[in-house]
């Protein structure tokens, strides 16, 4: 097991270093002088040159990379040209909002996606299965932002059941910072009303963000579980007199869950990047929106910082998924060892 984990850790490290070189170079290939963009067209050449020197853009690429990587390991990505704040504090401000969104979205994707898949497979070709398949089809066919807009118009604008935007009603003060996740921090502080308000705010964006992934998870779980139901060992379990629930969860679901888990890991991390449009529509002050704005404005330090943080979580979540899968399927663990 230790060998398995160290192998995963090493490959994760290689990925991170590779991404750091790639994004560092790519950010500098985007056309446009970042100093000129930040200072505006009327700025004198002297102003632009002073800023380039201040930001170190006049130094050789290798030196710039060395400075970047030295800072990055200390979570110092330099200053943002756009917000004029340290990138690390921008990330620290936006990341909890996106993380909270992604966690709730991932939760909804997992519970509803796997649940629908199981129900669909169990009641194959009956009305529940047909309804779930139609729902999955719509989820895959329509992009997140369309769902976001539709739900916003119907549930928040027409019926006004849920808030339209933001993380918290403006008359409430955010809970004391512990994790940065408002729902969690409010519970820790015992502010139940704030927790409820934060929860009401997150329902729409999290659900809209999760729909596409939820549909894929549901379809995948159903297909694999239907396949499992046809296997001789399920027939054997039934012949042995086991209950249908036991057959479904212990014999049909467990082998069907491995591909689902692999996809789930990737889907959850992908939510970090895909959150941009949903964050934009719901005025959610998150990292994805910050990252896209940084790219548009060629805010080099911010682009690199955001990509590095997302890559880190991509590697981390994949390691967690690999570990979980290895527990479910010992063959994988043994093969790797």
């Amino acid at each position: 097991m230790i060998r398995f984990l160290s192998h995963r850790l090493l490959s994760g490290l290689i990925v991170i270093v590779g991404v750091s070189v790639l994004i560092f170079l790519l950010a500098r290939v985007i056309p446009g002088d970042p100093a000129r963009l930040a200072l505006g067209p009327e700025a004198s050449n002297e102003q632009v040159e002073a800023m380039r020197q201040q930001m170190g853009f006049d130094r050789p690429l290798v030196e710039q990379y060395a400075r970047f990587i030295t800072g990055a390991v200390q979570f110092d990505f330099g200053r943002s040209l756009y917000t004029d704040q340290p990138v690390s504090s921008d990330i620290a401000a936006g990341f909890p909002a996106t993380l909270e969104l992604v966690l709730y979205s991932g939760l909804s994707m997992t519970i509803l996606g796997v649940g629908l898949g199981i129900a669909s497979a169990h009641y194959k070709d009956r009305w529940l299965d047909n309804a779930a398949r139609l729902f999955s089809l719509l989820g895959v066919a329509l992009p997140n932002f369309v769902w976001a807009l539709l739900m916003m118009i119907v549930l928040a604008f027409w019926y006004q059941w849920l808030p339209l935007s933001g993380r918290l009603s403006e008359w409430l003060t955010p809970p004391p910072h512990v994790t940065g996740l408002y729902t969690v921090d409010a519970l820790i502080a015992g502010q139940w009303g704030v927790a409820l308000d934060a929860l009401l705010h997150i329902i729409l964006p999290a659900f809209a963000l999760s729909l596409s992934g939820m549909a894929q998870i549901s379809r995948l779980t159903r297909t694999n579980m239907v396949d499992s139901y046809d296997r001789p060992y399920v027939e054997f379990a039934r012949a042995y007199g086991l209950s249908e629930t036991s057959v479904a969860f212990k014999w049909a679901l467990r082998p069907a869950l491995i591909p689902t888990l692999m996809i789930l890991g990737m889907q959850i991390v992908a939510l970090l990047g895909n959150a941009f449009l949903v964050e934009t529509i719901f005025m959610w002050p998150g990292l994805a929106k910050y990252g896209v704005n940084a790219i548009v404005r060629k805010d080099l330090n911010a682009v690199v910082g955001v990509v590095m943080v997302i890559s880190f979580f991509f590697v981390l979540v994949n390691m967690i998924v690999d570990t979980v899968v290895s527990f479910i399927d010992p063959k994988i663990r043994l093969k790797s060892s």
Partner: protein, 541 residues
């Protein structure tokens, strides 16, 4: 205010929500209980709180409301004494002496003195950020007495007084007390980190909280010497990074009171029809152009440029600019927009004349050749594509092929650095940074400022340079006006641009909010964010 006018459904929903929330033991609706006049502004991008850095709209709004200036612009562009009670200008136009108003205090209660003005000017010049270039001609700035400041310029610079509308005066003692290690010697970081999230001003509003990507909350500074409009907003919530689609949903629910975001036509139309919401024009002192690269064949021939300008269908363009009965642009008569010095209302508007365009083309050295031009438009503004397609169709009548491409802003900025990388035609908007037309024309037409998107026409001649330099040395406004009119004529004859229109931003606002510059064009202040001074606004129930 916005909390008071609730529909029945909103009232029921809100009451239920408050009941639910207060059931959990918190005070749910202080906003309703206190009935404060809260103004919620929806803005794009981010808000930069340091007044010596931003050159954009959100930062300018914060600057004008949190800080004060020696002079402030009035509707129409005239300058009004603000922190300066009076001033004198030496005969050689190089020394400006300002007598400061007595009794002005910063938000923390510290008296504002000449030392603060000196510190602010030096901070701006040293840090070289934002509008620092406007003050590059300052030789020295001194406090001759606690209430007297003397600026000595290296050379006469007539637009200096107008430039001072961008010199926010910061509290020296507060900034110095909060300085951190930095690259500015004894001044450390010059308070960069501190002023990024706090204010050190004496303006009509003060910062309560500031998150550059989310929201700035300001509250009224009741001690402000300039006074307020009746029922001026007491609390301002400037929300950043808001998208047009969110405005469409939030304004009818009265969760946004005012927005200056560029809204797509369909959203403007929808908001115009919403009860209680109006859309008003925010006049912009600028011009929208198709810049023609005069150094790239075949546009190096003035006759080809003239043919393009004459072939363009301006009437159809004005039709495209009309949304829900509101105009998004006014016809222009050359390089100087209406309402600023040098604008000449006697110059006829350029009209489409295909016969004259064909004649001009025939007179060019490229007559009879197959001409192909590249046109680039800024990707984020969909309307620009329509303008490009219109020009493409118009030039097809002359036998000129136009290849249309869009580009993101960083790419356009990069293209603008050299004549050879600049496209034949590029759609660009230019505008004044101060109330003086020099702040726009110098960047566009003086050869020393070439290489930015403002000068993508690459028309730089000794004659134009000399005229621009002369306008900086002449202090007599009538004389300056004469030179600017002459300069505009000289530029017009060279056809460096197809001058399309003077932009008007459409701002949506709730009817219980009165924004003078949006209701009455005569009240409009011709400077970026000039109509967004909250102390001039009023909110009624």
């Amino acid at each position: 205010m916005s909390d008071i006018n609730l529909s029945r459904r909103q009232l029921l929903g809100t009451t239920a929500a408050f009941g639910l929330v207060s059931g959990f033991g918190i005070s749910a609706a202080p906003a309703l209980a206190q009935q404060k006049r809260v103004l919620r502004l929806a803005d794009g991008n981010i808000g930069q709180a340091d007044p010596h850095k931003p050159v954009d709209f959100p930062g300018s709004i914060l600057m004008f409301n949190l800080y004060d200036f020696l002079v402030r612009p009035l509707p129409g562009g005239e300058l009004q004494p603000s922190l300066a009670e009076s001033w004198t200008i030496s005969d050689d136009g190089k020394t400006y002496t300002f007598k400061l108003r007595d009794g002005v205090k910063f938000h923390d209660g510290t008296p504002l003195t000449a030392d603060d003005v000196v510190f602010s000017a030096n901070r701006m010049i040293t840090m070289k950020r934002g509008y620092a270039y406007l003050f590059s001609d300052i030789g020295k700035v001194e406090a001759a007495a606690p209430n007297t400041v003397v600026f000595t310029l290296k050379r006469p610079f007539a637009p200096f007084l107008a430039a001072l509308v961008r010199l926010a005066v910061v509290n020296k003692a507060l900034v110095t007390a909060n300085k951190k290690d930095g690259t500015f010697g004894e001044f450390g970081d010059y308070g960069e980190a501190f002023l990024g999230s706090a204010d050190a001003g004496s303006g009509p509003y003060k910062i309560v909280s500031h998150n550059p990507q989310v929201e700035t909350v300001m509250e009224i500074n009741k001690d402000y010497f300039g006074g307020f409009a009746e029922n001026a907003p007491e609390t301002i919530r400037s929300k950043f990074g808001v998208e047009a689609v969110a405005v469409r949903q939030l304004m009818p629910r009265r969760e946004i009171d005012l927005t200056r975001l560029p809204l797509p036509p369909e959203i403007v139309a929808a908001l115009s029809k919403s009860p209680g919401i109006s859309v008003g024009p925010d006049m912009k002192p600028g011009i929208f152009h198709f810049k023609l690269n005069t150094q790239k064949a075949p546009l190096d021939d003035v006759n080809v440029r003239k043919a393009i300008a004459l072939a363009f269908d301006y009437d159809q363009l004005y039709g495209l600019l009309e949304v829900a009965g509101q105009k998004q642009g006014l016809p222009v008569r050359g390089p100087i927009p209406a309402g600023v010095i040098g604008y000449d209302a006697d110059v006829p508007l350029i009209k489409r004349d295909v016969a004259a365009a064909k004649a001009a083309l025939a007179a060019s050295k490229y007559a009879g050749q197959d001409l192909s031009l590249d046109l680039v438009w800024f990707k984020s503004v969909a309307l620009q594509e329509k303008f490009a397609l219109l020009l493409q169709a118009n030039l097809a009548e002359l036998g000129i092929k136009v290849n249309i491409n869009s580009a993101p802003w960083p790419q356009i900025v990069e293209m603008a650095t050299k004549p050879e990388s600049s496209p034949h035609i590029c759609s660009v908007a230019t505008s004044l940074s101060t109330t003086d037309v020099d702040s726009m024309l110098w960047g566009e037409y003086h050869s020393s400022a070439a290489g930015t998107y403002l000068s993508m026409h690459w028309l730089h001649t000794p004659e134009i340079d000399a005229m621009l330099e002369k306008t900086r040395t002449v202090t007599d406004q009538h004389e300056r006006e004469k030179i600017y009119k002459e300069l505009a004529g000289t530029i017009r004859e060279q056809y460096p641009s197809v001058y399309l229109y003077q932009p008007i931003d459409l701002a949506a606002y709730q009817n219980y909010l009165r924004v003078p510059g949006l209701v009455d064009p005569k009240q409009s202040v011709p400077i970026m964010a000039g109509n967004y001074r909250y102390d001039r606004m009023s909110m009624t129930a």
